[in-house]
């Protein structure tokens, strides 16, 4: 009985930890992006993982580091 309770606690704890990690990763990924605004007022959002964004994001990271961020 005690063993089962311990196992259930471990499974529950592990599951919620894993869920939190997945959620944080997804949120962070959504937050990492490049938004381009054009003169006609339209906008394109390029999320991390897209080749276009992945070319610009390292440059932005370098720029932020030069400015004392990161």
């Amino acid at each position: 009985m005690r063993k089962r309770r311990l196992l259930a606690t471990v499974v529950l704890g592990g599951g919620s930890f894993l869920g939190t990690m997945v959620y944080r990763r997804r949120t962070e990924r959504r937050r990492t992006r490049v938004d381009l605004y054009f003169e006609d007022g339209s906008m394109v959002s390029l999320e991390a993982g897209r080749p276009d964004a992945d070319r610009m994001l390292p440059l932005a990271g370098e720029a932020l580091a030069a400015a004392g961020r990161a």
Binding site: V44, L46, D52, L59, A60, E62, L64, A67
Partner: protein, 137 residues
């Protein structure tokens, strides 16, 4: 008001902007609230990002680029374009995006207006005593 003065004023007014710089599209630094090589690097990198963004714009067949925001967990980089000029700013994560763009656009408008006023006053510069003497001679 000089560019450096305008940048310092903007940084004082904004609670979110940490560094603000002015550059041209080739990446040459014009003025910055940050000193040294880091400011030069920031200007060059901002111009590189604009150049990459312009390629994306071309691929998508969109209108010319007006501004961009690169958001990372460490912070955000903003660039607003006005002709050959770029205004670049860095902030922490999750800034008030509209406000930062508004501040940078206002800065560029102010500098452009001062440029055109300077050009007009240079055209209608008053005739000096030396000029009059030269004419009378």
């Amino acid at each position: 008001m000089e560019a450096a003065e305008a940048l310092a004023e903007l940084k004082d007014l904004s609670t979110q902007i940490e560094v603000v710089a002015l550059a041209n599209r080739s990446g040459d630094l014009v003025a910055s609230t940050m000193e040294g090589q880091a400011a030069v690097k920031l200007a060059r990198l901002a111009a590189d990002i604009v150049s990459q963004a312009d390629q994306v714009r071309g691929d998508l067949g969109r209108e010319p680029l007006a501004q961009l925001q690169a958001a990372t967990p460490d912070g955000c980089l903003f660039v607003v374009l006005d002709g050959d000029r770029l205004a670049v700013a860095t902030t922490g994560p999750d800034p008030t995006v509209g406000l930062i763009f508004y501040d940078l656009k206002t800065l560029l408008r102010q500098l452009a207006r001062e440029d055109s006023e300077a050009a007009v006053s240079a055209e209608v510069a008053p005739v000096t005593a030396d000029d009059e003497a030269a004419e009378n001679a």
